[in-house]
Amino acid sequence: MKRLLAAGFDKIFQISKCFRSGECGRLHVPEFTLLEWYRTGADYVSLMDECEEMVTFTAEALGLGRKLDYRGVSVDFARPWERIAVSDAFLRYAGISAEEAILNDRFDELMVTAIEPHLGCGKPSFLFDYPVALGSLARRKADDPTLAERFELYIGGLELANAFSELTDVGEQKERFASEREHRRTRGMAAYPEPEKFLEALASMPEAAGIAFGIDRFVMLFTGSASIDEVVAFTPEEL
């Protein structure tokens, strides 16, 4: 889609199937549906506003009004929604700093066990400003280059969307891919090939922001489903 932005399209979306081999769980199936949209001239803050509009519009169109109960967690869509920085969330819910969590290789574990259960309860939450290593396609924050302009949207404890202000600096993007490759290599994981056409297009891509929004989990939210298996046509076992 970023190649389309580079080719001159300025507002684009797609709803398509995505595949992640071997991911099976309450919130994961190997084949799932994502809504993605990109807009030139926008940044991640404008995508937060668009999320608020799209979710409240959907809830109202479904006749659910402003409030929702997802499996015992009540959520009020009245704006403003919570916007909490990753660094604050770690201090508040995990009791250690995000930097320390990364150093101890506990960032993901604490995110899942200590932080995510609190997010999007009462009000939807935007968790924003991730350490740069965790936003390899996101632009650095102008006033703090250790952070990337990335957010995740949580509603009722469900992680629904992941968004960035897109990184458009080809040189920096190449460096980030290289350090990621090194990270994967030291962990014995298979290396990804260099996405040459993407890097070529990036040079002519305007400033833009983009988001991936999980449709299956969005349906779970509105249908009160406990598991993603309940909202897909075929579960991994049935395929």
Partner: protein, 186 residues
């Protein structure tokens, strides 16, 4: 060796030299992060349970478990004596090992005993056993309409609810998983 992606309910693994069974299992992955496997594990020796989160790079030893066909011989002061049907070796199990199974242990009964290395962990009975009723009140014929059950005692001392027509000296079949009466055996 197992890797984290092999984790599932009922998988038996070994951690720090002890056998564990996975009683609950959840795959989780924070957005763009690494896959994590949250497990509830039960220690197969002590029975205690705890939660633990594994990463995709973690690996585990298979628990050294072995099920042996054994025959129940007798009970004495040192416990319940069983014989290995292949080697004729005899072992004694304690009340803790045998648990509820003691209600259905008859001499010469064939059972499966689960071992962790040399250490016996537990006993699996056949799904049903036939036992002689040693004490039963006579059938009050008037009761047949109500279908009321009565209480009898079988040769192992186990007390069970049976239909009123079951009499002392008869053999009955009992489901060892539920402890319930199934049928009379001719």
């Amino acid at each position: 060796m197992y890797s984290a992606s092999d984790l599932k309910k009922n998988l038996k693994i070994q951690i720090d030299g002890e056998p564990y069974v996975v009683v609950d299992f959840q795959f989780v992955k924070p957005g763009k992060g690494q896959a994590l496997y949250r497990c509830r594990l039960r220690n197969m020796i002590t029975g205690s349970q705890f939660d633990r989160t594994f990463r995709s790079v973690d690996s585990f030893e298979e628990a050294d478990l072995q099920e042996k066909h054994m025959q129940y011989l007798y009970r004495d002061d040192s416990g319940y004596c069983f014989m290995d049907n292949d080697t004729y070796e005899q072992i004694h199990l304690t009340d803790d090992h045998v648990g509820e199974a003691k209600n259905f242990l008859m001499e010469n009964l064939d059972v499966e005993i689960l071992f962790f290395g040399m250490r016996p962990l537990g006993i699996t009975l056949p799904n049903s056993v036939d036992l002689v009723v040693t004490q039963a009140d006579p059938w009050a014929r008037g009761d047949s309409v109500t279908g009321k059950m009565k209480t009898v005692t079988v040769e192992t001392g186990y007390v069970v609810q049976v239909p009123p027509f079951v009499e002392e000296g008869e053999k009955i079949r009992i489901d060892t998983r539920t402890g319930d009466y199934l049928t009379r055996v001719k």
